[in-house]
Symmetry: C2
C-alpha cells in the first residue's frame, strides 16, 4: 500500500489556509495513494472550547466535502457533530468517498468539548486491512489482539525535550505485539505555547524504525508499506533540539498572529542576548528591534555588551535611558515614598518603566514584545510583574538559566554572535548599585539542580536534601517557589519545551 | 442519628489552622454525634498538583491521627496515599477509630493527581445504615438501588450565581429514588478565584428541604436525622447573592495571602467606585487606599466624583496627576514617536503609568492592588495590558457592566454611597479628549446581551443575529472577543461568580 505521510502545519480555525495545504498535497497523488494527515488537520489545533460552536463543525464539514470532490484517498482529522455530541474524528476517504470514521475514545485535556468516541476502526484499502485511529487509543487496540496489515496512528504530539525518543520507544514493544507495519503521523508547527515537532515515523512489524520524517519541518513523504527498510539515524543534540524548537515556536507565534516585528529589551545580560539571537534566526534581522534602557544602576559594560550584540546581529536598536522617567516617578510618588528607605518598590518601578517603554514602542510600530525571562527566575519569582515578566510570548521561559548559558555557547560554536562578556559575567538585574542575582537567590548551578528535582522530578524536600543540598538552601528555594505562585499566574505564556512548564503543566494554589 | 454539619472554611495547605478549626468543633460533641466536614477539610482545597508531594499526604495523615486521639466521631476529607496512588478520601471515624473510608471515583478537573477511587461506602453508625461519599459519585450510588437510612454527601461546590438552587434541585429527584434522609455538606470561604458558598442542606426521604445552612458563612449545626422538619426559605436576590459572594472572595483573598491593605485606582467611574465600596465592606475602611491619577484628558467631574466616593467611604486617598510622567515618557520615546499621529500607543502609556504608580504604592505599603476591570471590557479587550488589567485579584472581572450598575444601585438602596454621577454618566476611559466607551464598542445594554448569548449560552453568530441583533454589531463583538484572547491570557485572575468565567471556564486558542 502506498501511503503519503503529510506532516503539515495547520493554523487553528483558518479553514481556508488548511484547505489550501491539504488540497495541494492530495492533488499531487493518484487515488491509490493514501494521504495521511495528523489529528484535527482540517481545523487546526488546539481547538479548546471553540469546537462547541456550530459554525466550527459546519465549516469543517463543508471543507471535508470539498476535499472529497477531488476524488482522492486520504485520512483527515476533523471535529464532527453527531446528534448533540461533538467528536474528534478521522475520516477515511477512498477515491472521494468516506468509507470509515474513527473517533477518539481516550480524550486528553485539549479535548474539552469532545464526547467519548469509539477508538480504532478497521477498514480495507487497496486489498489490505488497515487499522486507523488516534495515538491515545492505540493501547486499547493492541489489547484487542486484532490482526491487520497496517496500523495508522495519528497524533498531535506536543514537543518536549526527549519526547520524540520516548514516543518511538513507547510504540516499539506495542507494535511487536500487534505484528503489523505501523505508521505514525504527527503535525508540526507551533500554536501559542505549544510546539509540535513533526518526526512522523514508520516501523516494520518487528518494531524496527524504517522511516523518520524530520523534526521541526513540514514534510510530505511517500512510502510503500510492503517495502520498509531499516533506517540509521543521527539524533540531534539537546541544544540543537532546543534551538530548533524555540525558533519554530517564535516564528509560528508571529506568523499565526500576523505580526512581523519583535521588540526586545537588551540589558547586556545573557537572557536578552540569547532571545534576540533566536528572534533574528526566527524572524530575520530586519524584524527585530532592540531597546537599551540603561539606568543609573547599569554598569558601563552592560550598554557596551548590548551594543556589541546589536551590531553582531545587525539589528536596529534604540538607547532610551530611564533616569528621567525614574526621577519623575519618584517625584510623583513623594507623598507616599518620602522618608522611606529605598527598596523593592523602587527596584520594581525601574522594571515597570522599561515595560512601559517597550510596550509603547511595540504599540507604535505594530510589533510584539518578546519576553526574555528564564525558567529559574520564574520559579523563584526573581522578576517584576508588569515589568520584565511582560510580553506576547516567552522565548526561554521554559529554559533553566544553566541551559541558557549552554545554548548561548552552542550558538557561538562557530564564532562569536553573543558577546563573550554576556556569557561570562555574573548575572545581575542592575536595579540597585552592585546588585547580583546571587545576593537574593542561590548560584544557578545549585538552584537549577534543586528546581529540576522539585519541579520536573516532583521530589520532596527531604529527598532533595538527601541528594546532597543544604537544608537551608532547599527550604529557601521551595519557599520562594511557593510564595511566587501568584506572580506566575500573570506572567506571559512561554514556549513549552520541558515536561513541566509553568502555566501549563504545573498547577498550584495561589495563597 | 445526631449529625453535626460543620460548614467550615479551611485554608489550603495550612494544616495547623485546619486542625485547630476541626478540633474545636469535634471537641464540643459527644462520640454519638457524627461531625461531618466537607471534601478535603483537613488539607484545604483546591490542592491541584501539591497532593503529589509526599509531605502533603504525610502531614494530612499525622493530623488525622491526632484528631482520632480525641475519641470523637466524624467524617473528614483528606488526601491519602495508597501504595503508589493518591486518593481523595473521606475517613469515617467512630469514637476515635477509622471504621470506613470512601474514595472519590468520578474525579473532576481539580483532582489532577488523584487516582480513581471506589465511590460511595456503606457503614453502620448508632444503629443506622449510613452511605457516605462525594457529590460526584452520588449518581452511581443511586443507580445501585441500595437501601440505607441516611446518605451523607460531601462536596466542595464552587459558587456560581444560581448554582445553590440548581444543586438542591439536582438532588431532590435523586433522593426520592433512594428514599433516604439526605445530608449535603459543603465548605465555605474562598481560595483565589473560587468562592465556596456553603449552603449545606438536609432533605427528608421525600426530597423536601428540611435544613439549610446559610450561604457565605461558616456555621456549625446539629440535626437529629429522625426529626427533620420542613423548612420555608426566602431566597437571596441576585444582587444580594453577588454582593455577598464578592465580599467573601475579597476578604478571604487578603486573609489567606496575609495581606491587610488594598490599593485601588479611583477614576471617578462606576467600576472603581463599586470595587472600592466592596473592598471597604470586605476589609474595613482603614485598609483601603484610593489613588486618583487624573491626566489632561480627565474631566473635572472625574476627580470630584472620585473624591466624593473617598469621602463617603472615609478612606485614605492620594491624588497623583500623571501629566509629568506622561510628558517625560513622550520625551523619552521621541526617537520612535516623533512625527507619528497620537493613537493607541499614547493611550496605553497612560494606563501603564497608572499601573506603575499603583503597584509602586502597593509595594511600598505592603498592600495588594485590587483590579477593577469588568467582564464586558475583558470580553472585548477594552483595557490595557500591564495597565488597568493589573492587580492581585479582580473583584468584578466576572460581572458584566450592566450588572455593575445594578449592583451599585443595590448598594445605594438605603442611601448614597456610590456617587449618583458615577452611576449615571456615560462610561469613558478618558485616555483622549471627549472619549466615550461607545465610540469603540456597542452600548453596554446591547453588548452585554450579545456577550451573554455567546459566552454563557455558547450560541453561534447566526443564532445571536436571529435573536434580533444586527449582523454588523454581532460580527464586530465576536471579532473583538477573538482578537483579545491573548490579552485575557495575562489579565489578573478574578473572582468567579458566573458559569463561564474568563481564565477558568473558557479556554480558547490565542492566535
Amino acid at each position: 500500500m502506498k501511503i503519503q505521510i503529510a506532516q503539515m502545519n495547520p493554523k487553528t480555525l483558518d479553514f481556508s489556509e488548511n484547505f489550501k495545504q491539504i488540497n495541494t498535497i492530495i492533488r499531487g497523488t493518484n487515488a491509490d495513494v493514501l494521504n495521511v494527515f495528523a489529528e484535527l488537520s482540517v481545523s487546526g489545533s488546539p481547538l479548546y472550547d471553540t469546537a462547541a460552536y456550530n459554525e466550527i463543525t459546519t465549516q469543517a464539514s463543508v471543507m471535508a466535502e470539498q476535499l472529497c470532490g477531488e476524488k482522492k484517498s486520504f485520512i483527515i482529522g476533523i471535529p464532527i457533530k453527531n446528534g448533540g455530541e461533538i467528536l474528534n474524528a478521522l475520516l477515511f476517504v477512498e477515491n472521494g468517498e468516506v468509507i470509515d470514521v474513527a473517533t477518539k475514545k481516550n480524550l486528553n485535556s485539549f479535548d474539552r468539548v469532545f464526547a467519548k468516541g469509539n477508538g480504532f476502526e478497521i477498514t480495507q484499502f487497496e486489498g489490505e486491512t488497515v487499522a486507523f485511529g488516534f495515538e491515545e487509543d492505540f493501547d486499547e487496540f493492541v489489547a484487542k489482539g486484532e490482526n491487520v496489515d497496517v496500523v495508522i496512528c495519528v497524533a498531535n504530539n506536543i514537543f518536549e525535550i526527549n519526547r520524540q525518543k520516548k514516543t518511538v520507544e513507547k510504540f516499539i514493544p506495542l507494535v511487536r505485539r500487534v505484528k503489523s507495519r505501523f505508521i505514525y503521523v504527527n503535525r508540526c508547527g507551533a500554536e501559542g505555547s505549544y510546539i509540535y515537532n513533526g518526526g512522523s515515523f514508520a516501523l516494520n512489524e518487528r518494531g524496527d524504525i524504517c522511516e523518520q520524517l524530520p523534526l521541526f519541518e513540514t514534510c510530505v513523504k511517500t512510502i510503500e508499506t510492503s517495502r520498509l527498510k531499516l533506517l540509521t539515524q543521527n539524533a540531534m543534540s539537546k541544544m540543537e533540539t532546543m534551538y530548533n524548537a524555540i525558533i519554530w515556536g517564535i516564528s509560528d507565534y508571529f506568523l499565526k498572529n500576523r505580526i512581523k516585528k519583535a521588540v526586545i529589551g537588551l540589558s547586556g545580560g545573557i537572557d536578552s542576548a540569547l532571545v534576540a539571537t533566536l528572534a533574528v534566526n526566527a524572524l530575520g534581522k530586519d524584524n527585530v528591534i532592540g531597546v537599551l534602557m540603561p539606568s543609573e544602576y547599569s554598569t558601563d559594560h552592560s550598554v557596551a555588551d548590548a551594543e556589541d550584540l546589536a551590531n553582531n546581529l545587525q539589528i536596529k536598536h534604540y538607547i532610551i535611558p530611564i533616569k528621567p522617567l525614574y526621577n519623575t516617578t519618584l517625584q510623583s510618588l513623594d507623598a507616599v515614598f518620602a522618608g522611606t528607605p529605598r527598596g523593592l518598590a523602587e527596584e520594581n518601578i525601574q522594571a515597570r518603566l522599561r515595560c512601559m517603554v517597550l510596550m509603547g514602542i511595540a504599540n507604535k510600530t505594530g510589533a510584539a514584545l518578546l519576553n526574555t525571562s528564564n525558567k529559574s527566575e520564574a520559579a523563584v519569582g526573581y522578576g517584576t510583574l508588569y515589568g520584565d515578566t511582560s510580553g506576547g510570548i516567552g522565548a526561554i521561559g521554559d529554559v533553566y538559566k544553566t541551559d541558557v548559558w549552554e545554548l548561548a555557547k552552542w550558538i557561538n560554536r562557530n564564532g562569536v554572535i553573543i558577546p563573550e562578556n554576556s556569557i561570562s559575567k555574573a548575572p545581575s538585574a542592575e536595579l540597585s548599585y552592585g546588585q547580583k542575582d546571587s545576593d537574593s537567590i542561590p548560584e544557578y548551578f545549585i538552584l537549577d539542580k534543586i528546581l529540576n528535582l522539585y519541579i520536573e522530578e516532583r521530589q520532596d524536600k527531604e529527598q532533595i536534601i538527601s541528594a546532597g543540598f543544604s537544608t537551608e538552601t532547599v527550604e529557601k528555594v521551595l519557599h520562594l517557589i511557593k510564595i511566587n505562585e501568584w506572580k506566575r499566574h500573570q506572567c506571559c505564556p512561554c514556549l513549552k519545551i520541558s515536561s513541566c512548564t509553568f502555566g501549563i503543566d504545573r498547577l498550584m494554589p495561589v495563597s
